[in-house]
Every structure is written in C-alpha cells, then in structure tokens.
Subunit: 108 residues, 2 copies
DNA sequence: CAGGATCCTTTACGATACTG
DNA sequence: CAGTATCGTAAAGGATCCTG
C-alpha cells in the first residue's frame, strides 16, 4: 500500500526542484555548463572525471527534456555535439551559490 | 573498478551539501522544524503525511548526527521527545528559499 | 509515543561491450 | 566522437511487526 494522502504536500516547490536537479550529478553538470559557454561530451568527461559515461549521457538527456540544457548537433562527421546551458538552467547558479554558502558555513 | 581519480572534484562544496541535506526528505523535515520551534515525531508524521515512519526516524537520526537537528528527550512516560532545528540547521532556510525561487521561476 | 528490527521493492548508479 | 544496450551492484525508500 502507498502511504498517506499526497495532496497535502504534493505540489511543494522543494519537491519540484528536487525532481529537476536532484541526485548526485545534475547540479555538477549544470555548474560546468554555466561556467563554460559550450562543452562537448568528451570535455565534460574530463571536467567531471568520476562520473560514468552512462550517467553523464543519461543526465544530459534528462536536463535537455527539462529545458535546462540545450544540445547542439553540428551534423558533422566525426560527430560533433555541443551542450549549452539554457536560460532556465542558468537560474541554477543561485541555487549552487547557496549550496556552496551552506557547505562553507557548515564547516566552521 | 572504480571510476577515475576523485581528487579533482572531491572536496566540492556542492557535494558536501548534497551529503548533508540530499535525498528526498531531509530538506522537507528541516523546513518543518525551521518553521515550528519544536516538533514531536507524531506531529512531523502529520505535517509530512507521505513519509514512511522508518524514513522519518532514520533521517532525523542522520540530521542529528550532522548537528542540523537537536533531539530533546523529556524522560517522561509515556515517552515524550522533541525535535528542534539547530543553528547550523537554520542556515538551510536560505537554501530552501532558493529552491522555492528556482521552482517558481522554472514554472513560468 | 517513539522507535527498533526485518524484509522487500524500486531506483540510482556503475562497468563494459558495441555501433554509425 | 557520441552515443546505445545490457547487465550488475548498491543505495534509497517503504510496509509491517514488535517493544519499553
């Protein structure tokens, strides 16, 4: 059986944000795209060395669906694809700043 | 085999914050404790109806270990226990505010 | 009332081989 | 190069029963 009624806390903005950028990697990826104008998959792999290729691709796909990231296919061969932060995605900057601030003040 | 070297991105404040308040429930719990002075387990269950008892207790324990939440045992019988936000925990307010803001501006 | 213990399902994540 | 497909493990989360 499912838990209690969900209506009460259902459309909570915290949960919305968690769905959009929750998990281990999405904010890390967004951070890189915010500070780099455009990045290729191979470049992201280098910037985030401990992410698995599967997760990187999977999260990029999710972020694109959420319109937080754009994917530019240059249609060249060998394949050349670029990822860019969107306008909506750039708002994550404030969130990241706060997380950095929270971590810093926690460590005092 | 583990992935690539972790040293590069290891002590990243984003990851620190994720470790402290990541997951589905910690921020929701902190939010309630921030806006309620003191809450008992049974009250938290009502305020967050769709959390399982196991998760609620487990997350409160983790938050206490991280010193984001205090647990007050009144030593009465029947048992009476209160949970309060700590000073460190109260800093999560800014984080929550930003998450709310992010969700709002996303939904435009 | 608060919470421990247990069992189970689901989701997140990772390693690796393969393809246009 | 930028993926897809597949398989496996680990962690998160949930239901239920039990206890002082």
């Amino acid at each position: 059986m499912k838990n209690k009624p969900i209506e009460v806390t259902a459309r909570c903005p915290i949960r919305t944000t968690l769905e959009l950028v929750g998990g281990k990697w999405k904010l890390i990826i967004l951070q890189q795209l915010i500070s780099h104008e455009e990045l290729r998959l191979s470049e992201l792999k280098i910037l985030i060395p401990d992410i698995s290729e599967k997760m990187l691709i999977q999260e990029l796909k999710t972020l694109k669906i959420s319109d937080l990231v754009n994917r530019i296919n240059y249609g060249e061969v060998p394949p050349r694809v670029g990822y860019r932060i969107t306008e909506k995605g750039r708002n994550a900057q404030f969130l990241i700043d706060e997380m950095v601030h929270f971590a810093r003040s926690y460590e005092e």
